[in-house]
């Protein structure tokens, strides 16, 4: 199976969400994009359209992008209603025009979710994800305090499953795809990665409680098991991790209810 990658020319109409800022009204604007090369990436097409807009004295379309190889998680368009576009398991920057037909109208919007306020045009603010990680998405280990790396063997299946979860690029497509704008897949991926490893056990309960608590506080919705998140995820992270997180959360809630409530860390002997 060798797909057809010979270059073809195509012309499309881009229907793009334009909004000057969070308080400004937004609207769709049509832009013709002509004589494109089918081997061009979707973002390269936006580059070309933006250069044309600039030459015409208009302000180019603001869009988030950086690595353009599907790993940094910066790009964030919803294309024809699908976060990251028509492909499966790829980000917007890995979408190529060979996925579209000559004459297509392509609707391009920002990721939409209450917890991701709009910045400008196609750019949204996803700092809520950082706040969730800051609440507990880590293992507390000071630099220099680590034992030899091979002192704790990790069964290969556990390490592999942790890696599956760790592949998350923090793009927010899961949130944009979810009718509840839930961040469960994002949170579950980090909770599962660290919960699967022996190094993550000491803070396992505390971590899941803190991260889920922060997620709720920031205005993300709940999971109603539609699995749109996994379908939209550029790294195809499995919704099974959500079930794993729910189990962890339940256990942690029960255990925390049984624990003394005092947070006192002790006054020190000296």
């Amino acid at each position: 199976m060798v797909a057809d990658n010979s270059s073809k020319s195509l012309s499309v109409t881009l229907r793009v969400w334009r909004q000057a800022g969070p308080a400004a009204p937004g609207r769709f604007v049509d832009y013709p994009a002509r004589n494109l090369n089918s081997n061009m990436s979707f973002l390269e097409m936006l580059d070309v359209v933006n250069d044309e807009l600039t030459k015409q004295g208009e302000e180019p379309i603001a869009f988030a992008h950086d690595c353009r190889e599907g790993i940094c998680g910066t790009c964030s368009c919803t294309i024809n209603g699908k976060p990251h576009g028509p492909g499966h398991g790829i980000a917007t920057c890995q979408t190529y025009l060979r996925s579209f037909k000559d004459g297509d109208v392509i609707v391009v919007e920002p990721f939409r979710a209450r917890a991701f306020p709009l910045v400008k045009d196609l750019v949204v603010d996803r700092s809520a994800f950082d706040q969730i990680i800051q609440a507990g998405g880590f293992i507390s280990v000071r630099t220099g305090a680590a034992p030899d790396a091979n002192s704790i063997p990790v069964p290969k299946p556990d390490a592999d499953l942790a890696m599956d979860a760790a592949a998350c690029i923090g793009c927010g497509a899961c949130v944009a795809a979810c009718k509840n704008a839930s961040a469960m897949l994002f949170v579950a991926a980090k909770v599962s990665q660290l919960g699967l490893l022996p190094q993550g056990q000491p803070e396992r309960d505390q971590r899941v409680l803190a991260m889920v608590g922060k997620m709720d506080e920031l205005g993300f919705g709940n999971c109603t098991n539609q699995y749109e998140c996994s379908a939209a995820c550029p790294k195809s992270i499995s919704h099974d991790f959500i079930a794993r997180m729910n189990r962890d959360y339940l256990k942690a809630s029960l255990r925390s209810a049984l624990k003394p409530t005092s947070n006192a860390s002790g006054g020190g002997a000296g």
Binding site: D47, K156, Q199, G200
Partner: protein, 640 residues
Amino acid sequence: MATLDSKVPSGPLADKWRKHKADIKLVNPANKRKYEVIVVGAGLAGSSAAATLAELGYKVKSFVFHDSPRRAHSIAAQGGINAAKNYQNDGDSVYRLFYDTIKGGDYRSREANVHRLAEVSVNIIDQCVAQGVPFAREYGGLLANRSFGGAQVSRTFYARGQTGQQLLLGAYSALSRMVGAGAIELHTHSEMLDLVVVNGQAKGIIVRNLITGEISRHAADAVVLATGGYGNVFNLSTYARGSNVTAIWRAYKRGACMANPCYTQIHPTCIPVTGDYQSKLTLMSESLRNDGRIWVPKRKEDRLKPPASIPEEDRDYYLERIYPSFGNLCPRDVASRAAKRVCDEGRGVGESGLGVYLDFADAINRLSESGVRERYGNLFDIYHEITAENAYQVPMRIYPAVHYTMGGLWVDYNLMSNLPGLFVLGEANFSDHGANRLGASALMQGLADGYFVIPYTIGDYLASQRPGSRPSADSAEFRGAEENVRSLTDRLLATKGKEPVSHFHKRLGKIMWEHCGMARTRAGLEEALKLIPALREEFWANVNVPGSAETMNQSLEQAGRVADFLEFGELLCLDALKREESCGGHFREEYQYPDGECKRDDANFGHVAAWEYQGADRAPLRNTEPLNYEFVKMSVRNYK
């Protein structure tokens, strides 16, 4: 003239770092919170430094132009990270990693720095595993390794093809922990646009908020730059689109020396260019060279034939032929030039003729398709997305592309620049890799600098600064620097020419690639040194930057960075012109052995060239730091 004292400690090589750590000054724990440290950039070096300095008790302010620290381009490193753990029992050691790195760098790095790097490499793996980095493991649960170019041992740790991502997320988690604890003040969407120097010392930065356009002044007791490499001066590269030279270039214009800018790395295994609309080149990890075999047809006439129809005897596995002992795993500069040579001979494959095959047929026979998929599945997927070709069935086509820059701001053994108080880490500095970096060593250096070097060495500087002595951000120096930033912004917006910024970036990239790419000549460099100032002049007359400065304006961001590349590119070519030898990634056609290998001139160029800014209208000054090889004999690299 700048003073370039490397401050390399005396004594036996293996004892230098230990001795130095015992000798340098400390800041007492109660005083640490009185010092503020600015860290710019949040890739491996910046995140690890910010997290560790905050753990120590310093007040840290972290600045990134991205929307999150997790986006920094370290995230895209695929293949792995080296460490002298010798878990494979294959004869590795700190000395061997040191030696491979010195030799790989073509004897143009500092012995003492490289030895320290090899020493702390083992601590990095420990640290990352403790953070929950899911490195690849063997069935017994212990860590797995693979081989990388320029080494004959398996010392590379990896997390599938996403090692950089996993290490960065580890460092990001450490940084986030300290942000959550209130020990780091994190400024995202914040681009450093000037360095503030007060009484000859770096004491702050000027920052533009990329969402609101607000310009702010930030004072500190020390400034740490970890802002990455400058490969986008070539426009097309494997770098992220946002990667830029601005932070280090503006520091250079404030007096920090720029060392060896001509040392650029061209990576041999990237997906070839397909059209002039292209914005980016994608790397196929060097780890693929463990199992893939590189070849071109022996005869020009066969170059467009389907590869499967070319019988074994008509194929030239040229790396295995020329370099039998290292074969497909020879260093990057060597492999890139070999690819260029066979393509120049007319034997390159693909429509453009600028490509060679990376063939997995033998590996699939040996390991089965699923075995290859387990090792490299995500890389094959990336290749398929970009080219629509199935590399399990037809060989990949690859060609060299700009990938890393070994040059950067000059630093001493403490990673401090010639400007006191300015520290430079990771790819942004010039140290450790000499004229060529070995695969899986960038991640090692970024984390070594951030986790294990700067936490010690910054204390030595801060101990000399009275607590509370940092200048006010309202002082004349700060206001002057802010004014400098505002006037540059105004000038960019006021030009109102006809061409978008990308037009100039593409043209600069073509000049750089053609005249200062894989092979350089005196005539070509002299030509580039005429073309670049002319292009720069055209930019300032004809660039069109729409919009305003008071809002998110991506054209304005880009314009500032390209304006800096248009100045920096000239210095890069000048450095390449003045280095009249070939070494590592710097290949001057005039200086080569009959077999096409680099001909170094140790007597005249066994030094670091550190350029010093002399003002806009004057040529920069070329200072030198001699490289004294006390422990290793400088010799001709041999990978045959």
